[in-house]
């Protein structure tokens, strides 16, 4: 490899060049005071370690996938760490602020807010119903239904960027239809989860895609393009596996089939174009906020033009008494005053994750200032990641381990991101490769294990008070542990990255191709 370049590529978004200040690690050699802990530098890991323990107990042991609960765990962990500080606690408190104001968190937060608005606008615009129309038009039967569910859920998740949202939508609308026409419930649920993995991994508006790109100083569009080969490499055999398994695994006996076409709406498929605009614009190098904004404008136009949603589905001001403005299409009269609509709920839906992200970044900063981060990094580089192959395997298995424990996948990704960045950089592994390693396990394992958040959100749709089980019977409830072997795309994605680390497939070094400028907020 002798390809050369004269200088760093120009910023694609006009943002400032990275200054290495993310998480403050780039300032390790500065004269900033370090925090002294009782018990030494390892004590600085207590806040994050407590949080990880809390996350394992909450999500892994108790099976509660509540991001707000993790926020409380992070708050308690951060408070506990303060009692271990020697001397003035002000430094500790200042470090919390220092961590929360790091630009890496702000970048992800801005992208999430736009992604949330876009995703919810596609949802109210009947995108799911459009995909159901496609399934009906293709005349899928019981044997091919899981394979179709994988592809269509993958499309939805790629469009809206949230695997959790795609899982809920498909388990609510697609799963009962499939089971009622004779598809195997376990296989069908697993296929839906596989589609969620695909979209969470590949979509430019996915929370995990955004975090993996910005924490590795890589542009989001370039990351999406570079991970396509891994995603499609796992999706093709997964699709074949669902076709084979679908013809082998029998369904359950239920009376009263529900036709797919009841909720089908061909017009919803116009949002394939809305989704395509975001993907193409982002991959072309435009700022992710600009890319999503174009997609959002087109989605709103389609919704209103084709009657897919009303203006108040997008923005709604609810007042308690009719007045002169209540005739406006975005003003409604209701029992409780408030603001609603897809733009509102899409953005607000990310608020818990935003707060959690800020706290995790603050805990990481405490580890950095206290020396714990450097100690762990030194151990890994000296004892474990001693060659580039072992370094990549360490990154793959490290992200797998953390994601197996912390089942809110984005939180796990933020926690492990600094190590992936620093270990990768020590071998000049470029940002795209690091971002892909970071996101693959995060996306896959978040939808495989029974305690994973992605599995639990789908399971809740089945067992809730008005869930599928209550409506159709116990045949509509799948035990989460049963789906583990059948989330084919997730397993193939993990396997591909283990093989990629061993064989060097897809490996790129920093001199090979430098990432474009990160889409900074």
């Amino acid at each position: 490899m002798t390809e050369t370049r004269d200088a760093a590529p120009p910023a694609a978004d006009g943002g400032d060049p990275p200054d290495g200040s993310e998480f403050g690690v780039g300032e390790q050699n500065s004269d900033d005071p370090r925090i002294e802990f009782r018990g030494g530098k390892w004590a600085s890991t207590v806040p994050l370690a407590f949080f990880i323990g809390w996350a394992i107990f909450q999500s892994g042991v108790l099976g509660i996938g509540d991001t707000n609960g993790l926020v409380v765990g992070a708050l308690i962990g951060t408070t506990l760490g303060m009692f271990l500080v020697r001397g003035d606690w002000k430094r500790y408190a200042d470090t919390i602020f220092e961590g929360m104001t790091q630009r890496v968190a702000a970048t992800a937060i801005v992208a999430w807010l736009w992604a949330g608005m876009f995703a919810q606008t596609l949802q109210v615009g009947g995108f799911v119903e459009g995909l159901i129309f496609a399934a009906d038009a293709l005349n899928v039967g019981a044997a091919t239904f899981p394979a179709a569910a994988f592809v269509l859920c993958g499309l939805l998740a790629t469009g809206i960027g949230t695997g959790y949202g795609a899982t809920v939508a498909f388990v609510t609308l697609f799963f009962p239809a499939g089971v009622l026409i004779g598809a195997n419930p376990v296989l069908l649920f697993a296929a839906i989860l596989s589609g969620a993995v695909f979209g969470d991994n590949l979509a430019p508006v996915s929370d995990t895609t955004i975090v993996s790109a910005v924490t590795q100083d890589a542009d989001i569009g370039g990351v999406v393009a570079s991970r396509f080969k891994y995603a499609i490499g796992a999706a093709v055999p997964a699709f074949a596996a669902y076709l084979i398994a679908g013809s082998v695994m029998s369904g359950v006996e239920l009376e009263g089939a529900v036709a797919l076409r009841e909720s089908a709406n061909a017009l919803g498929l116009v949002h394939l174009l809305s989704m395509g605009i975001v993907i193409v614009t982002a991959v072309a190098g435009r700022h992710i906020v600009e890319a999503i904004s174009w997609g959002l404008l087109v989605a709103i136009a389609f919704n209103l033009l084709f009657g897919l949603s009303s203006a108040s589905d997008i923005v709604a001001f609810t007042v308690t008494e009719a007045g002169s403005l209540s005739g406006l299409p975005v003003v409604e009269v209701g029992e409780t005053a408030g603001v609603g609509g897809s733009l509102y709920s899409g953005a607000v839906g990310f608020f818990p994750l935003i707060v959690l992200t800020l706290l995790i970044v603050a805990m990481a900063q405490i580890m950095i200032r206290g020396g714990g981060f450097e100690a762990i990094q030194t151990f890994l580089l000296d004892r474990v990641a001693t060659t580039v192959r072992r370094a990549e395997l360490t990154m793959v298995l490290g992200t797998a381990t953390i994601n197996g424990m912390i089942t809110i996948n984005t939180a796990a990704e933020i926690a492990i991101a600094p190590y992936v960045a620093r270990i990768g950089e020590k071998f000049n592994i470029n940002g795209y490769r690091r971002a892909n390693i970071l996101d693959a396990n995060t996306s896959a394992l978040g939808y495989i294990f029974p305690w994973a958040g992605g599995v639990l959100v789908g399971y809740q749709v089945m067992v809730g008070p008005d869930g599928l089980g209550a409506e159709y019977g116990p045949e509509m409830v799948v035990n989460p542990i049963e789906v583990v072997p059948y989330v084919f795309h997730g397993w193939f994605l993990v396997a591909i990255f283990v093989l990629a680390a061993i064989t060097g497939f897809g490996r790129e070094y920093i001199p090979d191709r430098v990432s474009e400028e990160v889409s900074r907020a």
Binding site: P18, V388, P418, R422, F427, P511
Partner: protein, 88 residues
């Protein structure tokens, strides 16, 4: 790089010891110090860098490759300029 090229990049098996040639201009991350000088470890290959700033570790720099030994996967380069820092 075109959008199409971005999708096609990396469809190959890359070895753990990349080799370069004299005259190459590379952007690398400075990964350590050795015998009073700076080094950039690229995979399991090593590039010794002369005239880099004292605080060059964990910065991304442009270098001119002066010589390269394909059998030992090591080379020597000269610092040109600093273009960035570590992501963390």
């Amino acid at each position: 790089m075109s959008v199409f090229d971005k999708f096609l990049a990396g469809w190959s098996f890359r070895g753990s010891t990349p080799d370069y040639a004299a005259g190459d201009v590379l952007e690398v991350m400075v990964t350590g110090e050795e015998n009073g000088g700076h080094v950039a470890r690229i995979g399991d290959s090593t590039l010794r860098i002369e005239d880099a700033p004292a605080d060059a570790i964990n910065t991304r720099i442009i270098v001119d490759v002066e010589s390269w030994d394909d059998s030992a996967h090591t080379g020597r380069a000269t610092y040109r300029k600093t273009v960035g820092e570590s992501a963390f």
